[in-house]
Amino acid sequence: MDIARLKSSFARVAMHGDEVPLHFYSDLVLKHPETRQLFPVSMQAQRAHLVEALVTIVSSVDRVEDLAAFLRDLGRGHRKFGALAEHYAAVGDSLLATFAYFCGEAWDTELEADWRDAYALIAEVMTAAAREDEQQHPAFWTGTVVGQEHRAFDVSVLTVRTDPTLHYVPGQSVAVEVPSRPRLWRYYSMANAPRPDGIVEFHIRLIDGGAVSMALAGKAVVGTQLRLGPAVGVLQLDTTLTKDILMVAGSTGLAPLRAMLDQLGGMRQPPPVHLFFGARTADGLYDLPGLEKLSATQSWLTVVPVVAAGPSPGETGLLPDVVSRYSGWAQHEAYLAGPTEMVQDSAARLAAAGMPAASIHVEDFGWSEP
C-alpha cells in the first residue's frame, strides 16, 4: 500500500470541499436507497462529520495506535445510528466511486486497489469494535421521560428512566435522540450519580433554534421514549486524590458536576469542595435552592452563586474573573463545565495562577450538536 500516494490523492480530492461528501452521500443513497433512513433530513452536519472523520483518519495514518483507537470509538459510536455490518461494504463502494470521480484522470487500478485495501482495514477495525461492543451493550438505551420540572425561563430538569439500566461514571454524558427529531443526536450529561433504579436527570437549556433542545424543553416530551447512546466523556472525579476540589459550573454545565457532588456525598469522607455556579442573571441560577439545601447539610460543600450582571445572591461578574478573585487554588483539583469560552478562560486563569495542567479537568460541550 503506497501511503504517500493515498495521501496525495486524498489531498487532490479534498480540494473539492463540500462537493465530495455531497457526492458520496448521493451516490450511496442512489445505490442503496435503504441507507437514507439512517440519516437526518438535513445532511449539512452529517457531511461535516464525514469530512472530519476522513481528515482524522488520513492525518493519523502514521500513528497506528491513535488511528485504531479513533476507529474503534467510531465503530462503537455508529451502533446507535443503526449501522450494520452490511452497510460498511456499501459505504466503501460509494467512497471509492467518489474518490475516483474527483481524482479524475489520476485514478488508476493501482490507486483503486490501494484505497480498497485501506478502506477494508478501516471497516475491519470499526466492525470488530462494534461486534465486541455488542456482547456487552445494546446499540442504544431507551429513556422514558417520567418527569419535567421548569426551573427557569429556559431551563428544565428532565427525569428519565433508562432501560436497560444505563451504566456510567458521574461526569459522563450520552447522546440523546428525541422521537420528534429523528436522527438528530445531542449530548447531555447525567446530573446524578448512577442509581439502582436506573433513573437519570438531564438539565435542559433551551437553545434558540436548537432542534433537539427545543423538543426536550417542550411540555410534550413527558412520557416520550428517548434513545440514549452509550456513556462517553472524559470528565470524571479522580477518587484516588484527597486534594481539595474546585468546581466551576456555567449554566447547565452544572449537570456533570452535580453528578460528582452526588458521588462525593456518598463517600465516607469527601474532600472540601468549593463550587462556583454562574449564570447571566439571577434567574438563570436554576439549581441554587437545591445546592444551598445540600451545602446546609454537607459541611464539605461551599456554594458560591455568581451572576454576570444585575442583582446577585452572591458574587457579581464573569466566572473566570470571580474565581480569580479568590486565591490559593494552586493546590486544588479543578473540574470545569459550561460554555466553551468560559471553560477555556477559567482553565487558562487557573493555569496562570500555578495550577498544574493535569489538575484541571474540563468538559467541553463544543463538540456537541445542537
Partner: protein
Amino acid sequence: MTSDAWYEEQRRLTPDNLETITFPLTRWGRHGYEEEPVRAFLAEVQAEMLRLVNERASLWQEVQRLRRRVLGKENGNDAVLFGKDDAHVHAVRILSSAQRTADRYVADAQAYSGRLTEEARSRRDEIMIQAHQHADLLLEEARTKARAAAVAAIDGDSLAPQTDHERRAARAEIAYLRTFTEVYRKHLKIYTEDVLRTIEDWEARERSEAREVPDG
C-alpha cells in the same frame, strides 16, 4: 501534502458562513451600521455565492464528462455523447442538488424557530421590566400614603385628641390605614402573580408554535 488542502478548503468563505455570521454590537453611544440593511445585503451576497458555487460545481462536472469523452476517443472507443457512467453521475448531481435544497429548508426552519425563541426572550425581559417598574410605582405610592398617614398620626398625637370621640375617630383612622395597607399588599401580590402567569402562558404558546415549525 496531506489533508492541509482540506483544511484550506474548510477555511474558505462559504454561503453558510454568510448566513450565520454575526457581528458584535457597537457600544452604547457609538455609531454602527443599522442591522437590517446589512443583513439584507448579506442575504443577497449569500444567494449569489450559492449560485456561483453551484455553477462552478456543474462546470467542473461538465469538464470531467468532456474529458472522459475525449479519453474515450483516444482509446479508440466509439465516443458517445454520454459515457457509460454519465447517467449515474447525472443522477448523483440531481440528488445532490435536492439534498442541498432540503438542507436549506431545514436551516431556514431552524433559523425561524431560533428567531421565535429569541423574540420570546426579549418579550419576556420587557414584560419583566415593566412589571418591576409598575411594582416600584405601586410601592412608592403606598410609601407616600404611609408617610402621610404617619405624619397625620404624629400631628394627631401632638394635638392630643381631647375627647373620647376624637380618640375613637383616630383609632378608626389607624384601623382604616392598616386595612388599606393590607389590601394594597394583596393587590400588589395578585398583580405580580398575574404578570408571571401571563409570561408563562405566552412562553408555552410560543413553544408550541415553535414546535409546529417542520423540520424540513
